[in-house]
């Protein structure tokens, strides 16, 4: 017997009272301004409308049973404070499902407190969306029968935390399907979902890191493996020829680490970026795919959250580390797809595609210096029609992880500002202490450029023209323009 923890309703009250801002479910933009008053009136209703309660609190401040529970409680919170970003998942019964850090059993009281907050708000016919205390922001995403909570201590915007929570939710759906998730809790609302999730926590951990580091998450886009378009076409054609006749095959993807080499799809069906991100995360977090061809059910929430797709996953060959993913709705298709994959590899070997892929994987990525634009250090370029982005490798002065992460968060806030719901911006010019930033958007392109600190507005705007001209020449190898249907 060990661990005990207590989280009292009084803590809750204190916490809420300290808030500067709580967002309830109305229109986003308005909320942020009106939130404070809305909160205080509701909080009064919840806890302290009766003056006697106040009295009983102040009169009786004898510490609630000091000892063990308090100490353990504080230890847990000290642990939590040490990390910047937390994600918790719990059932609507208040049972823990996932925590990014620490042991969810020891935090059982904390999960109870989260439900209390959600439940109290629900009782007044409202939905709790977020709580702000200083730089700490707590975001709630209620996806009955589960609730996701994100805590960020670095003043991240609400939208981004909510999107991260949605990704985690989608990952859970991809493991269970929405139909099953609902059915499980419909039959037993006290179900401990960890039973079905054990082994999958790793995938969620990795996915959260992805949402913190990858520009594809911020830009809603994928990154492609750079290669001459003639080579890419030949590869795509080889896959297409073998797959187009297979009934119930819906999508095929060829992946090299974080990059897409090629995609094919069934007529009328398209693959959403968020689903591709889940597939990429699965592949890149699972070493065992490298050693054996695998057949795994995966639900793609944006495509159809009600059922499983079945994925045939295999690396092309010992000497070619590109991963082929064939997705079908038919669970009995393994041997047919296995056969197709074998033929694809053989054919690719004969027509030098394997070699082309290997060369593309080891090739030095396109360097920004080739564009020859004075003062330009780094950029993110998104082809909006294709939902694909390109970004050059970091160069000096972005030599350390911290510096790179800092730049990513600068990009991230620019991207949020450019894409704020209900408002479109065309240009942002921003002079910061360490760099000058320029964001620029048209119907087809979103461009985020990072310059040296003293670059003038004029100089930066001129760079746009030069860069877009250069990109026109290079884009054939940087993006996938040919996604054939069958």
């Amino acid at each position: 017997m060990k661990d005990a923890g207590v989280t009292s309703y009084r803590d809750l009250k204190n916490m809420i009272e300290k808030n500067r801002e709580v967002i309830y479910s109305n229109d986003m933009e308005e909320q942020q301004e009106t939130a404070t008053t809305a909160l205080h009136s509701s909080v009064d209703n919840i806890t302290i409308h009766n003056p006697i309660v106040n009295l009983s609190i102040t009169e009786d401040e004898s510490k609630p049973s000091t000892s063990k529970q308090q100490i353990v409680h504080e230890n847990i919170f000290d642990q939590l404070k040490g990390n910047n970003k937390h994600i918790f998942v719990l059932s609507t019964a208040g049972k823990p499902i996932y925590t990014r850090f620490g042991n969810e059993n020891q935090m059982a009281s904390l999960f109870g407190l989260m439900i209390a907050l959600v439940s109290v708000t629900q009782d007044s016919n409202d939905t709790l969306q977020s709580i702000c205390c200083g730089h700490t922001r707590i975001v709630f995403l209620n996806k009955d029968p589960i609730i996701l909570v994100g805590v960020s201590q670095s003043a991240e915007p609400y939208d981004r935390i909510k999107k991260q929570l949605t990704y985690v939710y989608n990952n859970i759906i991809s493991i269970l399907t929405l139909t099953q998730l609902k059915k499980i809790f419909h039959n037993r609302n006290n179900f401990d979902l960890r039973r079905l999730m054990s082994g999958s926590e790793r995938l969620i951990d990795k996915l959260i890191s992805f949402t913190e580091n990858d520009p594809g998450f911020y830009l809603d886009s994928i990154s492609c493996l750079q290669m001459p378009s003639s080579n890419r076409d030949k590869i795509t054609q080889t896959i297409l020829t073998e797959c187009s006749k297979i009934k119930n095959l819906v999508f095929g993807l060829l992946i090299a680490q974080k990059h897409i080499i090629s995609i094919i799809r069934m007529k009328k069906y398209s693959l959403e970026v968020s689903d591709i991100h889940l597939i990429l995360n699965l592949i890149n977090s699972t070493e065992s795919f490298k050693t054996a061809e695998s057949w795994t059910p995966i639900c793609l929430p944006a495509f159809d959250s009600s059922g499983f797709m079945h994925a045939h996953i295999s690396y092309l060959a010992e000497d070619c580390q590109a991963c082929l993913v064939l997705l079908t709705i038919d669970r009995d298709l393994f041997f047919l797809l296995s056969d197709a994959k074998r033929k694809i590899t053989e054919k690719m070997r004969r027509n030098d595609c394997l070699q082309a892929i290997n060369e593309a994987i080891v090739r030095q990525p396109l360097n920004l210096a080739r564009a020859n634009i004075v003062g330009l250090r780094h950029l993110l370029y998104k082809n909006k029609n294709r939902s694909q982005h390109w970004s050059p490798p970091f160069t000096s002065p972005y030599n350390t992880d911290t510096l790179q992460q800092n730049l990513m968060s600068v990009y991230c806030s620019l991207i949020s500002q450019m894409n704020f719901p209900g408002r479109t911006l065309k240009v942002i010019y921003q002079q910061l202490t360490a760099e000058t930033m320029l964001a620029w958007a048209t119907d087809d392109v979103e461009l985020y450029m990072c310059f040296e600190p003293l670059v003038s507005k004029e100089c930066a705007t001129n760079a746009i023209t030069k860069l877009t001209q250069w990109m026109k020449k290079e884009e054939d190898s940087l993006f996938i323009f040919n996604i054939p249907m069958f």
Partner: protein, 208 residues
Amino acid sequence: MATRKKVLLKVIILGDSSVGKTSLMNQYINKKFTNQYKATIGADFLTKEVMVDDRIVTLQIWDTAGQERFQSLGVAFYRGADCCVLVFDVASPGSFKSLDGWRDEFLIQASPSNPDHFPFVVLGNKADLENRTVSTKRAQQWCQNKNGLPYFETSAKEATNVDQAFITIARNALAQDTDVELYNDFPEQIKLSGSTENRSSGSDNCAC
């Protein structure tokens, strides 16, 4: 069996105000007792790990407010409980009479799938007091009428029967926790009945 590793049980404590719900918790978890009375506002949450037979079980204990004016936590609060502990004060006939109400309230709010066999445990607290007015027999009778609920006479002050009561609570909740095969059937095959191309709510998120 992997599912044996982690078990977490949600235990709700109900009963009139000042019957000693919080004191029982305090005795159980901190081995402490105080005569001071302090109303619980809303709820307290406590966690304790216990060994039940050969399993490590985490009890997530939801100690609620007995006073009506502090009960404002909403329906969602009771949902998905694994066990409900009904507490009364053996020196307070009123708190004993209230048990029916607490039980009904719980069943309505939590709406467990099998209400007739939901694991309640009844605790007659303050058994150390000399002026008791609810006899053991009367309490046992009540429990008998409710499908034979387990009954313990406890004293949070003298730590009588507290550990035993909670072990029973954990064990009875666990017994309900049979592995219903509700997740073994595969969902039906996806039907390719339409197109997803126009479904993406006007966004540009299709990688094609």
